[in-house]
Symmetry: D3
């Protein structure tokens, strides 16, 4: 029995609240249970120097946690003067995941900056971030269409993410913090709405695991991401 | 006529929502119109090295803005690797203001870290922060009482803050961003619930102003902070 | 009785020694009693990127303390790798105060960098800095006139600063270190030579203070700044 | 046909040269073709503060590239003043991978620092690093045994790593730089000598890939790591 | 003919003004012509961690230039966030030079921090710094004697420094800035009052120079340092 | 008797292995006994901003030590976030030394970056670096000739370096670590192949030394550098 009482293949209650932020071209407050992340998409009409005159655009991401989003207070990265390795790893992952479903040529020579800021953390902040950031990004592209700067949305489909893990020997979907901190293995899956694999990161936290166990996790992820994609489409009014 | 249609001595709609953050010992989401700040208070049972064995506690504050809390995106301070002068100035102000109403001796040798993170900015983020932080701090002390670590709340009363300014020649209360960016003078007042002055910061943005003009601003501030204190007391259940 | 034996409304002996620095376009060694600050003004024919083609100039300031300007040695900020919040707060204040009396349009598209370096500290380093920096700035503008780059001095008048405080219940002018470290309230006033208010920063160090007490401090400040302005005019040869 | 002429399931020539470094407790110069990494293992009799009195040891890793290990010169991270996100991601991966085969309890309360410095890069530096680091770590433990500080080697077996990818539609083993820069998908596998999965990181560089494609990559990885483990055992004299 | 009209073996006018700084245990304003450096010596009753319980003391130095000590303004190192290579090289040299004449055992387990801050620069700031720092250090030791913490001054004699160079083919003593910027060779000599060599740093700025030329420079340095040592002894009241 | 059994005027076994690095335009692995340094020369067709349109080129150097090149592990400078004073001092020395034998006009408006990375340290890393860097630089220029970008090699001759010191009262050539850590005096000499002096840095580690002792060290250096220059010429095929 999972601490939360969920079935092994059950997501936490997920909500996607677009338009949370008044100033951003696109925004979404995403909640995976008690994990709450504010995702914003900001359009910048300039690309980084190394992309100029390439005719292509770019999507990049930054990630942060509010100091007291965590169970005990975490030092503020701005005060420490640098971002941790974990932060950099996560923001690179978010950027890569989103770019996998963007036609960079079609979006024009501009950059979209995704910011994922964790207001409250209870496990799975990176997967919630990717899922919510896609919604924010969608709206930022819609804004560009509305402003006559783009003819069509350059997103080729949805991308969403979820974690799965081995917890007390069972494969479970969407780990929350109490599970995450005790899991024997932990994997993050980033899949498209059509089930294509964008990114897989699996780690044995204790003993190495087997190919069969890994395939069980992948199966759970496909189920979960199917549900998340449906929620994403609903949030942006596609269904 | 003010851009928002408010009367010169009228605050924006203000709300104080305690308990917004699940993990913090005290928290409050404060809204002054479209300015939204999440304030948390985290108890640390250790004081900084220079205070050890003093028998006294300490209250300190940190401040940050989410990158897209602003009209156009602002660089993330954690990514730039340092906090701006403005950030440091504000967090020092918040800490000083709160300490003015705390009996440091009575709170015991522990530290409370206040975090004020701006989710959305529309002028007056520092005054909203102080006002909301007081509520978060109150609840953190109440938690210590509930846990049997304190006998009474070491707060001597409320402290709140508001900005006033000269806008098109008129003294107005609680500047929002459109006013703030054009004001001829701008002053932040930090007062106690009983009207005592804790901090005054007034700046001529264009021409120097006169003593009489300054006294008009102070009068508005007293009115506004009277109203804010009432809201604070209601939020913590004191009235 | 003040520790120094001064009357409540008496400044420390003040001297303004222009031309202390051989290389700077303008310079002044300012002494408020044992507080000694070297102020230089350096002309840079370029403005910062965000001001280019605005037709306006800019005045900015930096502040530093020599490590042993203080009673016990303070760490060197260059060695620690960052400037403290206090340093940044002070240098922002100096810049704002000077700009309040400069016609930025008239000074042409160039920047003047003010450096205020404290050689010896005994309280009131920020107010001495502003007062001395005005003299340095005046001479830098005179140099531009002499070099045929400006037709007239773009300063609209003097600006000077002084601190006042409540010390053992009495309002006193121009706090030195022994007073400053025990004052119940402390306020810095930046006024023009004509008495206009440029900046007010007042802080209750212990209990909140009243409006009447604040007005007493302001009255002292006006008297003190009247005297400082006279010394400034003498130092630049205007009287 | 691969640019190097290798068969799809063929590793580059791999060599593991232990004892390259005179001072380190364990060391290995690992070559995967033209990718050369110097791995050292340094014993530190102290653990980090958060592990003290836990009775357990720790293995951590750092990674760096010499500025001209790359085709064109890369800026030196020490000169830029910070490590890139990529560097931090890699060194976290190396540490996690090694710890998966170390009995931290058995190694005693000490820390081993692994340094992986890339002398020459031609793709796959992180997988070569893990493979070579295991050899260096083995020798560091042997040194502790020889010095009477450990009774037995706390390694539970080998761990090695290899990259696989989709290159022009074909699944290939051990990507070199010309392949890596054009691969459609790229995955790094960290497996134990017995075939257990320690870490999987797969990324679609262009279009998402399918589960079947992923299983092909995993199959290649198992074959490659089988060969690498054999070379590791030979290098440390276990076979 | 030298730009300054000095004879080849002639120092600039040198003055050593002790007690310039009110707070420091020892201080000296040293002037080599238009090069002015404020040297302070601060006693710290703690040694750095790596020296604890060694029974020995330590002398260390820091060096800085005020931004407008130079002909055109130099960026402030505290604002840039790091000390330049040149600064670090100079402060290491000052520390080594002073330690050469201090009996570290005899000075007791305490540290003296030397700060050399250049108020105005016209060439030779490092040699002026060493020469003035010795005077400040002497007085700091005298203060320790007066306070009953030391029985005798642990300085074994004077140490002073001067630069020599080849300028238009002639060996000249004590280069000022106009000479320094055109010299064919430049050498800094640190010698004791008795003529012992503590440090030599010679650099060919253009063509390599010969042993004979080098010996000429050394001869000039001995003469110059003889004069400087006499001035040092006078400044501390030894003659 | 020296710890290594060498005669006082005997170099360690020296080898210069060009072409160690596959990607660099020039490279050399230099060994002075157990001190091993990898030197690379990277051509950059751009000069730094302050040299643009000067018609001259530039040679600059960076230096680093692998963390476990030393007897006990040294912290990685990239992880600490800054280069030590020692590192900066050495890389400035390497750059200056090489520029002394380069015709900057003749090399064209491009920059060559020298990287000296210590793989293993046993004393004399800076002198080995200079000696090996000259070989790398020579080959980088040869590459530019081969590519038709230069007509002739802009090197005016060799430059090499060696340390000498007083060890147990005897002047000895080419100190290794056991000697270096106990030497009474230590000097680094950078000379051209023709015996011209480029740089001299001598330091008394304990008591000051005399002119006669210094001349003995210089004599040894000349002998050693004569031998090193011969090895350099052989390594680049000039003899």
């Amino acid at each position: 029995m999972r601490p939360s009482g969920r079935a092994p293949d059950q997501l936490r209650p997920v909500s996607l609240e677009p338009g949370f932020s008044r100033h951003a071209e696109g925004s979404c407050l995403v909640k995976f249970g008690d994990t709450h992340v504010l995702c914003t998409a900001s359009v910048d009409e300039k690309v980084p120097p190394w992309m100029r005159n390439s005719g292509k655009g770019w999507v990049t991401a930054e990630y942060g946690m509010l100091p007291r989003s965590t169970h005990t207070r975490t030092d503020r990265e701005a005060a420490r003067g640098k971002q941790s390795g974990r932060t950099q790893e996560i923001q690179r992952l978010i950027g890569r995941s989103l770019r996998a479903v963007v036609n960079l040529q079609a979006m024009g020579e501009r950059q979209i900056n995704i910011d994922c800021d964790v207001l409250q953390a209870d496990g799975g902040t990176r997967t919630a971030s990717i899922t919510g950031a896609w919604v924010a990004l969608h709206f930022a592209f819609q804004r560009l269409i509305k402003d006559g700067k783009l003819a069509a949305n350059p997103l080729s489909g949805e991308v969403a993410a979820v974690s799965c893990g081995l917890w007390e020997g069972t494969a479970v979907l969407d780990l929350d913090y109490p599970e995450d901190s005790k899991a024997e293995a932990d994997a993050n899956f980033v899949l498209t709405g059509k089930g294509g694999i964008v990114e897989i990161q699996g780690t044995a936290e204790q003993d190495p695991f087997s190919e069969d166990q890994f395939l069980e996790l992948l199966k759970l992820a496909k189920k979960g991401i199917g549900e998340l994609s449906k929620l994403q489409r609903a949030a942006v009014g596609l269904d």
